[in-house]
Amino acid sequence: MDWPFLSDTLSELLTAVPLTLELGVISLLFGTAFALLLALMRLSQRPLLSGTAQFYIFLIRGTPLLVQMFLIYYGLSQYAAIRHSFVWPLLRQPYWCAVLALSLNTAAYVAEVVRGGLLTVPHGQIEAARACGMSSLLMFRRIIMPQAIRQALPAYGNEIILLVKATSLASVITLMEITGVAARVIAESYRTVEVFIIAGAIYLVINFLLTKLVTITEYKLTPHLRQPAQARKAD
């Protein structure tokens, strides 16, 4: 075992962790907001809205993320109209292209999760809320959302893990996040297995912590499913 090489590689890979997390968090925020919109469109009574959302989800889920990223990063620059528009300062940077691709991609997957969560809210509760005279917005905030979030949380956790894994593709469009740095170290040292073990371990730790975070949130959000203190003592 070549400990100096391992510790050097570890410290080099750790410097790339913030970029991976940053890409993940920003894309998750944008993606979730967009997913909420998509889910509501998908559940809308208007065929135009629900059809558009359905078609978008079909397109995104049927094509690889890397193709979507290339379309945005390389493809959009083909058009002079985009190169001269106000979005160009953002779109010519690989960072924002990666964020855009990751957000658009994760939104399609999360939208289905959110839709599933919204559909589990029993119809009787919605009727009861209406009967109490709640406005649509209040009903959504107080009745539908809290229950939908609880239902959707485990599946949402899976999507977060998938998103963390997906950030690795940003390395293909020149961003040096964990996988990008790992590929560079492998190319320099030819020590594939060692570098893979360290980089893989970093990802596993990140994903493990995220899974724990989701489990804790789920526990906090479901006090009504826990056994009361006395009953637990009796076990």
Binding site: G62, T63, F70, L71, Y74, Q78, A187, F208
Partner: protein, 239 residues
């Protein structure tokens, strides 16, 4: 940069990219199918280890599925491509070759995709086996079926039927992951589109075509899957 129209690009013939793109699609499908089949074999063995194996086997299988489901696919492809090439170079060195011997992208890619999908296959097979009604296995035993006969006539068909929807999801995932193999130089749809984009200066057109090809393949396989699912569901009472 010559300004060719969209239809000129996808045309077949000396100036069109149609034939090249079809070749790329064939490569994508080949990588995806070999990866999926390899993953199926790995998944069966590893699901068997998880269900019936001793402590050591279970630990190995659990470690395998945790690592290969939790680490980015791209990193695993790098492991197989660079690691495989290093291994081949080392072996070739013993036969007198010098320097770096590259593993073909197709081979490294299929092995990597197989290893990744194997981890997902494992969970699908395990879940599908666990929901097979124990009564059916008991009945088979009561009929005096031998172990192998029971596996072949009762357990395998029922497990496969339960596993089919999950296997369809794994296939869709494998198909999309196969695009990552283009980083090793295997000339699949995405690599072909990159080559075309580079030589014509029309990246959007080419990546758009690539996206359309992936969409066509995944839609076609989804339709086939739905048909076979319905076929396998014959004889299942609903509700």
């Amino acid at each position: 940069m010559n300004q060719s129209g969209f239809l000129d690009i996808i045309a077949f013939g000396p100036t069109g990219w149609g034939a090249a793109l079809v070749d790329g699609a064939a490569m994508t499908v080949a990588i995806a199918i070999s990866g999926f089949l390899l993953g199926g074999v790995i998944g069966l063995l590893s699901a068997w280890a998880k269900i019936a194996g001793g402590n050591a086997l279970q630990m190995v299988a659990n470690g395998y599925t945790t690592i290969f489901r939790g680490v980015p696919e791209l990193l695993i492809i790098y492991l197989f491509y660079f690691g495989g090439s290093a291994l081949v170079s080392w072996i070739a060195g013993h036969f007198g070759a010098t320097g770096f011997v590259g593993l073909p992208g197709y081979l490294a890619g299929s092995l990597a995709i197989g290893a990744i999908s194997g981890a997902f296959h494992t969970e699908i097979f395990r879940g599908a086996y666990l929901v097979v009604n124990p009564g059916e296995i008991e009945a088979a035993r009561a009929c005096g079926m031998s172990r192998m006969l029971r596996l072949r006539r009762i357990i395998a068909p029922l497990t496969l039927r339960n596993a089919l929807p999950g296997l369809g999801n794994v296939w869709q995932m494998v198909l999309k992951d196969s695009a990552l193999v283009s980083v090793t130089g295997a000339v699949d749809i995405l690599r072909q589109a990159q080559i075309g984009a580079g030589s014509t200066g029309l990246p959007f057109d080419f990546f758009f075509i690539a996206a359309a090809l992936y969409l066509a393949i995944s839609t076609a396989s989804a339709v086939m899957l739905r048909v076979s699912e319905r076929r396998l569901q014959r004889g299942v009472r609903r509700g």
